[in-house]
Symmetry: C2
Subunit: 321 residues, 2 copies
């Protein structure tokens, strides 16, 4: 068994890092030793992905590796942080070298694409689950939080919604072509790190859409002490969503499906043009979907019409302690 | 289910933190925002504790909470870091409020005792497992690593060995009195943070003893490119160990049992008196158990006599990627 775990360990030893990665000591000692930059806040988050709770156990291992990192990086995006480092804790019943090689390829590829250095972690026995801790940096005055929304501001989302739930629905129907745009959205979400950086100084509040638009908007409203009116017809729907699910289910997926990993932000109307220009520079749309007001709750949607909408993790929602 | 998870969330919302905790934004947003101190290295590590792999599922929840944090803090101790912050990722099949309250009490008590601020985490469905990410700080020139040992130096350990394996053996025999010193050693290990700080500038290499003395010494020897001779008769045995296991098994437990969370260090003989004085100030002994030399491997012990010794995690050893 030990030799098999040595195989695992080798899959997660990253390439030599450049000095600007700020890694004085990386994988292989009791701790990694990192060099945070002066004057920055350290932004940290952890997300755990459990097989059959957060992703299908039969999903391609490369996608599982990508996705486990992506959902954590999405939290850095939501606070406007620049990603720097991550730790990866993997539990699996038995080491499977082919699976691990694919998993590691997906994980490392997203590390490389985003400039995130894997600096440590552990591999243990147990049911298949991956916990990824991410660390990034953001200047104190530019950090985005959930609590800054004010009445009169616009509510906007990056990219398109419903793809996560749409992809899950397709997966459950047997679709296995990862090139399908909805399946790609579900299994290989793209953390909106560039959007988070672009919205620094423009957004007044932000959150990533992991639990579903309504649930995540509710978190912002509660933290900010405000309410909202949504315009469901303005929701930007993921490519292929209506064709796959039909109009009604597509709208429900966008409102409550979760797993989209887009950013939901509030901002004054006067900043909308600048925000859209900056997001266009990183290849993303920014759609206005409603307005912040003073009346508690979310108006404009019939909550009962989306109640009972299930996504994969619905029986065990992820909650932050 | 959501309301039950809200109960969980409440258990992990810590008390208000003082400004010196360096927490600009704590539990409850997408990321925590922290203020590292200038000129320090950020030391980070994650350890996952899985029920029935790393601890008995029937262990008292308060001890499980303590232990999950302690094993991660032990990594900070091993590099001589001062503990600052942690993230806690808990998976469990069904929320059990009484269990969670006890678990949280154990976790928070060790946070308070060590000055570690819980700044975030997540709670998900899945088999019972706890991943704890710890973050601490150490001046660059004072960080202890595994790679600094040189031939001619002494090998020493803090405290006493074999208590982890001895406690597990007692647990498996049905002992349930957590006041028993061996059971306390196994279920409520004390991370040697003060010892790690005290050994800054004195130890040339360090590691915490989680996998067993021989295995962890081997990590130091490999990282440092040296060998060692051990003096088994010099091993400091945990209180009650010989009485519980007998002489032979006590020695094997100390050599290979693991789960002790003492520090193993190397240091020049000329620094021994100072090191012992500093450790005495924090209530710990420092026992010389051997010497570093140039011959590869570990001399002085009959490896075959300890081969096959099992501890709880033996079938799925924890390995760092």
């Amino acid at each position: 068994m030990a030799s098999e775990f040595d195989l695992i360990a080798r899959h997660f030893t990253p390439a030599t890092l450049p000095p600007e990665a700020g890694v004085a000591l990386g994988v292989g000692d009791d701790c990694a030793l990192l060099a945070p930059r002066p004057g920055q806040r350290l932004a940290v988050s952890v997300d755990t992905s459990v097989a059959e709770v957060h992703f299908p156990a039969a999903a391609p291992a490369e996608a599982v590796g990508h996705r486990a990192l992506a959902v954590s990086l999405s939290d850095l995006a939501a606070v406007g942080a620049e990603t720097r480092w991550c730790l990866m804790a993997l539990s699996m019943a038995e080491p499977d070298e082919a699976w691990l090689a694919d998993f590691a390829r997906g994980f490392h590829a997203l590390c490389a694409a985003t400039g995130t250095a894997l600096v440590g972690g552990d591999v243990t026995g147990g049911e298949l689950a991956i916990g990824v801790t991410v660390m990034g940096e953001v200047p104190p005055e530019l950090a985005l939080t959930r609590s800054g929304a004010s009445a009169g501001e616009l509510i906007a989302v990056t990219g398109a919604l419903g793809g996560g739930a749409g992809g899950l629905a397709l997966w459950q129907r047997g679709e296995r072509d990862l090139a399908h745009p909805l399946l790609a959205r579900y299994l290989r979400p793209q953390p909106r790190l560039a959007a988070g950086l672009a919205l620094r100084g423009l957004a007044t509040a932000a959150i990533d859409i992991s639990d579903g638009l309504l649930a995540d908007l509710e978190h912002v409203l509660e933290a900010s002490g405000v309410g909202a009116r949504l315009e469901p017809s303005a929701l930007p729907l993921a490519e292929g969503l209506v064709a796959a699910l039909g109009d009604d289910a597509a709208c429900r997926a966008a409102l409550a499906g979760g797993d989209d990993y887009e950013l939901l932000v509030t901002l004054p109307a006067a900043r909308l043009t600048t925000a859209r220009q900056r997001l266009a520079d990183v290849g993303l749309a920014l759609s206005v979907i409603g307005e912040v007001n003073e009346a508690p709750g979310i108006a404009g949607v019939d909550a009962s019409s989306v109640r009972g909408w299930q996504h994969f993790g619905a029986r065990t929602p992820r909650r932050r302690p």
